[in-house]
Each structure stands twice: as C-alpha cells, then as structure tokens.
C-alpha cells in the first residue's frame, strides 16, 4: 500500500480527534443524493419487519450507489484540476457518510448478506483509491488543498477496510478425517459406476476429465466440493483423483518443478484465478465458496491459516486481501502478496532462520511489513503449541489419532485463536513473545539433550567411527519433555549448524519416533533415496529444504531404534562421501560435461573452494567467467548437444531447482541471471553460429520472494542494491521471442 506522509492528516483536514468517517451519521446522511433513502433511514421508532427491511435495503443501496460513483470518480479524476478535486472530496464524504450509517444499523450488523454487499461495494473502490493516493504522492503536489485531499484519502483508506470484520464465507466446513474419507469413497464408487456406464455408451474419458467428473459428483452430493488441505488424506485414491481434491505440497502434491509452493499459495492461486474472471464479485465469491464448501486436514501447523482464509473468501475476492488489526487501534489490508510471503516464510523460511529474526523495519499505522508477517507466524505457532499440549498430541502436529468430535473441536479452537491473532494486535504480540521466550529457554537445553543421546548411543554399541561420521552433519538429540512442538523443533536449529537435525522421541514400551528436518538454508543433498532401504518405502524420495523430512511413530511405519538408525545414517553419509568429493576452481579448467546431469554451465560453480564454501573476489570472478566461457565453447562443439537453454531469473528465482527437475541430456543449460539483452545476445549469437536451437526459460518469481530466499540461503550474501539493479534490468528488457529464440515463462 502506498502511504502518504505529509504530517498529521487529521490536522491538515481541519479536524482534531474526529476523523472524517466518524461524523454524526445524520449529518452525513444529508449529503446522500437519494433523498428517499434519507427519509427511510430516519423513519419512526416502532417499525414493522417490512419497514426495517426497507430501511436496511435503502442504507445498503445508498452505500452501493455512492461507492460506485466514488470509484468512477477516482478512476477518472484529474488531480491537477481544482474543481475535480473538490468534487472528489465531496464524493468521498458522501460515500463515507452512507457507510457510517449502514454499519451502525443493528439489522446490518446481524445480516451476513447485507455485510457482504457492503464489503463488495467497499472493495470496488480500494484499488482506485490506492491509485489516487499514489498519484498524489508521485506528483509531489504541495498545495494546501492537495494536502487536505491526501489526508482525507489516507484516513478513508484505513476506515474503509474496517467494516469487513464480521464478513465470513459460507464455506470451509471442517469434516473430520474418517467422515471425509467415507464421503470421498462414496463419490469414488459413483464415479466408477458412471465411467462404466459411459464406456458402455462408447465414451472413454481422459484422466483429467475423470477427475473433473469426480469433483462434480462430490459437489453435487455435498452442497459443494471437499478439499484436503496440506494433507494427503485422499492419497488412497488413484493419483489423478486425489490431486483433484487436495491442496498440499507433500509427496505427489509437490510442485512438479520443485518450486516452493505450499497449500496457502495454492488457495491464493485459486482466488486470484477467479478474481480475474469476467464475473460479478458475488459470482466469484459463490464459485470459490462452492469449491471450498467442505475442508479436511490432519495438519494443524500448515492447514489452519488456509482454512481461516477459506472462511474469509468474500474479503479476499472483494478486497484482494483480509483485514488485520495493527498497532494503535488501526487496521491494515493483508493483501494476497503479503499472504504469499507469510506462507512462504512459514513453510520454507521459519525453521532455523535466526538470520531473519523479525525483519528490521517496523511498520507505521495501517502498514504491513515483513516484521508483522513474522509476528503472525510466531503467534500462530504459539497457539498450535498450546493446543497440541491441551489435546495431548505428542511428537508431531498431526491429529489423525483423535476421535472425530475431538478433531472438530481442535480445528474450531485453532481457527478461533488464529482469527484472534489476526484481529487483535495485542493478543498477537503477546503470543509471538511467548513463542520466542519458549524457543529461547529451550535453546539452553539443546546441548544437554544431544549429549544425553550420544551417551545412549555409545551404551548401545554405536561405534566411535559412526558417531564421528555423524558429527557436524546430522545433529541428533532426545526430544525434550517440556516446550511446545514447534518451539522444540525450532530451538535446536538455532544452536547447531548441521545440515539435518534428528530428533528422537521415546514413546515408551520400546516405541520410538523420530523427526528428520532440514533447517532453512541448509543443504540436505547428502541424504538420497537409498535411505528408503533403511527406513522403509514411506521414506520420501525427494528432500526439501526448510521442511520436515519425515515423521515415524510406530513400527508399522518402519521405525527403527535410535542405535540402528545412527548406524544406517553413518553408513549413508560415508557412501555419499565416497561418491562425491568437493571440487574447487583450481582443479577444474574446463568442466567435464560428460554426463547428462553435468551439462549445466554456471560461472558460480567455479566460485566454491575445495571445502564447498562460496568465495567471491573480483579475481576469482573473472577467472570463473573465463572458465564458464571456455566450457560453453567446448560444449557448443560437442555433437551430443543440439540445443542451448538459457535460464533467466534473479538469484532465488528457482532456476537451479527447475534444472534439477527438468533434465535434458541433449541441451546445454546456462544457469546465470542473464538479466540484460546484451548478456543473452552474446550467448544466443554463439549458439546460432553453431546451428544450435535456442530456448530461453525465464523463471519469473516475485522479487520479494527471491529476496527472502537469498536472505535465508546462508551460503552467500547478495547485496540488496545488486538485487534491485538486476530486477530493474529484467523488468525493463524481459526476454522476447525474436530471431528464432523461443521464450518460456515459468511462474
């Protein structure tokens, strides 16, 4: 949000402690153009139900009309024209007055449909209002009138967001795990019948069409669809059907390109897709509500926020975000982009991110900054930790073992408390502080838990060689008996610098659980799929950064005692070290390019020393650039490669991840930022000179997200000014389809 700062807007507007939207409603009503509405609004004290309805309808209509006029005026206003500015000012006052009257009416306070109409009207002016505020600021207008207008707009913006507080969707009904499975199984049986019937009629559907029909059957029978959020509850179904009703990022639901997209982001994708359609706002809301009518999950930590957002679909659609409480009694719009950043931090940045702490910049009233997003995440984790303790869930935040009615209670409580974190600034800060305190106190016990487990392993015959092998790579410790789950999970990662942490949980009676986790910015690549052999088929085939790898809680899942696990991990590590020895620039004049997996050229690859540390100096950079150029020439002359793929994007965009997940043995990949046409042109000219096809893949990831990722990488520091400059270059001259070059944009 653009915030105009030109002194105290209230003073400049000539009012002291009475903002413009706090006027006497009757005075404001005098400015409403529809005299009939005013007459009806000020009707007699004793009213019939019908009279009340007429009065309510009139108030809503007055808001709709005045806001419609305000929106049009904001879109067309010439801010250098004094009379138009005056007219705009009057229009803002009229809309604000009508709104003030409407939201003060008890009938409207009790009516979800009336509130929804109001919210939609308000939403229609938020964008043009913000645009106008930006214009005032950009044009550097200094006259008193404009000062007054900018103050007025700023106050209006803050106040207009407020009335959506009680707006809730007719969606997001939680269905317990057993009930949801039963419902889905019923729909699956119907689908099978329908497909058999169609086949008899000579119709065979594609897998995608089968999935669409499956969703339709579910929706028809349940008043709307059912979605599993951040949980593979429906993974017993064929994959195409499970994917159709799941918003998750684990296992088969992970992004195929390996991009860091979680369940909240998938929900926001759905919202944004529908927002862009040529439908009325009401239709968009109804459509999304239908899709998310019923939801289920077993995941407390990752699913509650998206479930809260489902509950606030009308706001998301009408306003492009949700309202949250901020300091000093103010409110702010937590926009879709804010929510994406928050969700990314929660899933990929939070765990072990001591370098992020809380974000340095503090927000002013009505503003939202990174610091605020982090407070929300921490406050929510505190809520989850308290609830996990209350519901006696140990070892993880998955609540499958609870009976259905307890699942419903837990989800309801969690939603209410997360809503409180969003809607009550003081409560949010208190919860965030509690979480930080909990982590701090747990940090003091981490070393003791580690030593305790080391002694345990030694006593059970794990060799010194095995323990030495784990040292510095895998940090192991016994789970602490006190402290919340998320705090217990986070605290050790702030103490050790190992790539992976292994928490052993003693459930008694010889039963063990464990959590393997990768703190943000660490590299878990030394554990590969051979781990499946040690821990059973459920071990994940891919390991993500900044996320938990695996929970195991009972022998049926393939759990092994800590001593066996330590031996298996040590063996795994040694096998990995035999396969891959670190290479430094000094050893490699030209990269080998002998196998399909090594046809990626990046001068960055030559900037790592023999110990795997990234080391940048002007001299090393020049040398690395020369090595990369030579490698490119070498590859262009190699007949095995018939094409060149230029990867374009900022650091942290996901280029390397894309490469890992899209191998192509016939292509030479250039993995650089390539933000200017000149840099790209040089490489393209060389490729075309060697008659190679050229394909540009632009990984177009939001700038803020790239910054977040690079900030938490840990292997190198990239100055913000450098990132800004590269981003400006790329936005100014993005890759284009010219001279036989194919461009693909990956978002």
């Amino acid at each position: 949000m653009t915030v105009i700062r030109r002194g105290d807007p209230k003073k400049e507007m000539g009012v002291t402690d009475t903002p413009v939207l706090r006027q006497d409603p009757r005075k404001s009503a005098e400015t409403i153009r529809d005299p009939g509405a005013v007459h009806r609004i000020t009707g007699p004290a004793q009213e019939t139900e019908q009279a009340k309805k007429i009065r309510t309808d009139a108030a809503v209509k007055a808001v709709t009309e005045t806001f419609h006029r305000l929106g049009r005026r904001l879109e067309t206003v010439d801010l250098t024209n004094t009379s138009q500015v005056e007219a705009l000012r009057a229009s803002v006052l009229r809309a604000a007055g009508a709104l003030e009257i409407a939201i003060a009416m008890p009938e409207i306070q009790d009516s979800a449909s009336s509130q929804r109409k109001l919210s939609i009207s308000i939403g229609s002016v938020l964008d043009p209002l913000e645009h106008a505020m930006g214009q005032v600021a950009e044009q550097g207008i200094t006259s008193k009138k404009f000062h007054q207008l900018s103050g007025l707009l700023e106050v209006a913006h803050a106040k207009l967001i407020a009335p959506a507080t009680n707006l809730r969707a007719d969606a997001g009904t939680f269905v317990s795990i057993p009930d949801s499975i039963e419902v889905v199984k019923g729909a699956h049986a119907k689908l099978d019948e329908a497909l058999a019937k169609l086949e008899k009629r000579g119709k065979k559907l594609s897998l995608e069409a089968q999935a669409a029909l499956f969703r339709a059957i579910l929706s028809k029978d349940n008043g709307g669809s059912i979605i599993s959020i951040d949980a593979g509850i429906f993974d017993f179904l064929p994959e195409h059907l499970s994917r159709a009703i799941t918003r998750d990022h684990h296992g088969i639901h992970a992004d195929p390109s390996g991009l860091e997209i979680n369940s909240t982001m998938r929900l926001l994708d759905d919202v944004e897709k529908v927002r862009s359609l040529p439908l009325t706002t009401e239709e968009k809301i109804a459509y999304l509500e239908h899709q998310y009518r019923n939801v289920t999950t077993n995941n407390l930590g990752d699913a509650i926020l998206p479930m809260v957002l489902v509950n606030r679909i009308p706001e998301l659609v009408a306003h492009g975000g949700i309202q949250i409480a901020m300091k000093s009694g103010s409110t702010a719009l937590l926009g879709v982009d804010h929510l994406r950043r928050l969700a990314h931090f929660e899933d990929y940045g939070f765990f072990g991110s001591s370098n992020v702490i809380e974000g340095r910049k503090r927000s002013g009233p009505c503003e939202v900054r990174l610091r605020d997003l982090i407070h929300i995440v921490l406050a929510n984790y505190q809520v989850f930790d308290e609830l996990l303790a209350k519901y006696e869930i140990r070892g993880s935040d998955r609540f499958d073992p609870l009976p259905p009615e307890r699942q419903e209670q837990l989800v309801q409580e969690a939603r209410t408390l997360v809503e409180k974190n969003l809607g009550d600034y003081g409560a949010r800060m208190q919860k965030a502080e509690s979480f930080k305190s909990s982590v701090e106190s747990l940090k003091d016990n981490v070393a003791g838990s580690h030593d305790q487990m080391r002694r345990y392993l030694e006593e059970r015959g794990v060799s010194k060689a095995d323990l030495d092998t784990l040292e510095g790579k895998i940090y192991y410790f016994f789970s602490q008996k006190t402290g919340g789950r998320f705090a217990t999970w986070d605290a050790p990662s702030l103490v050790h610098k190992n790539q992976i942490q292994w928490e052993s949980i003693d459930f008694g009676n010889g039963k063990w659980g464990f959590v393997l986790a990768v703190p943000s910015g660490r590299d878990p690549s030394f554990l590969d799929t051979t781990m499946v052999k040690a821990f059973g088929p459920r071990f994940p085939k891919g390991i993500a950064r900044g996320d938990t790898l695996f929970f195991v809680f009972n022998s049926a899942d393939g759990v092994v005692p800590p001593e066996e696990m330590a031996k298996a991990l040590a063996e795994q590590l040694r096998a990995h070290e035999r396969k891959t020895k670190p290479r430094g620039a000094s050893q490699l004049a030209v990269p080998p390019l002998v196998t399909p997996g090594e046809n990626v050229i990046s001068h960055d690859a030559y900037l790592y020393d023999d110990h795997g540390n990234y080391l940048w100096t002007p001299e090393r950079h020049a040398q690395a650039k020369q090595f990369a150029d030579e490698a490119y020439e070498h590859a262009l002359n190699d007949p095995r490669f018939d094409r060149v793929v230029l990867m374009v994007g900022l650091p942290g965009a996901g280029k390397s991840t894309y490469l890992r997940t899209h191998p192509d043995p016939k292509a030479i990949f250039i993995d650089e930022t390539l933000t200017t046409p000149e840099k790209r042109r040089e490489l393209i000219d060389k490729a075309q000179h060697h008659h190679k096809a050229v394909h540009v893949i632009w990984v177009d990831t939001p700038y803020e997200l790239c910054c977040d990722r690079t900030a938490t990488r840990g292997d190198r520091d990239i100055p913000k000014a450098w990132m800004d400059a590269r981003n400006d270059e790329l936005r100014r001259d993005p890759p284009t389809n010219d001279k036989g070059v194919k461009v693909t944009v990956v978002r």
Binding site: S206, L213, A216, S219, K220, L277, L279, H290, V696
Partner: protein
Amino acid sequence: MGEVVGYDGGMAPEIEAATALLESWDGDLEELAWTAELLGTIALDDPRAVSSLAALAKKVCARAGDAPEVEKLQRALEIAARLS
C-alpha cells in the same frame, strides 16, 4: 513474450466430461446435475467449446422438461457463455 507453462491447449476436462455425459444422455437426472457442476467449474481453458456444448445442452434440457436439474444446468451455461 513466450508461452506460459501450464497451458496445453487441449480441451478443458470439464468440457470433455460434460460433452460425454450430454452426448449419451439416457434420462438420468443425476447426470444432468453433474453436468451443471462441471460447467459451474468454469471452462477456463477452452471457452470456444462452450457454444457447441450449449447447443447440445439445450437439446438435452428440452428432453428433460422442467426438472430442477435443468434450471441449474441453464444457469451454469449462462455463466460459461459469458466467459467465452
């Protein structure tokens, strides 16, 4: 600017399933309700197919009479047509 990954240019799955149901409709009203759901799921990727599907749906609706499922289907078709 190049293509955006994720669009394969084929027929939208909702349209494919709805077409199959309508083309071989045997009077089962539940199938009409499914078809309405399918079209309500918005044929984003292939709006061109909506007009031919609409003609097919109208014929089926005429056969189905005034069942509530027909009204739902007609409403869904109106929205789908606007998207095209």
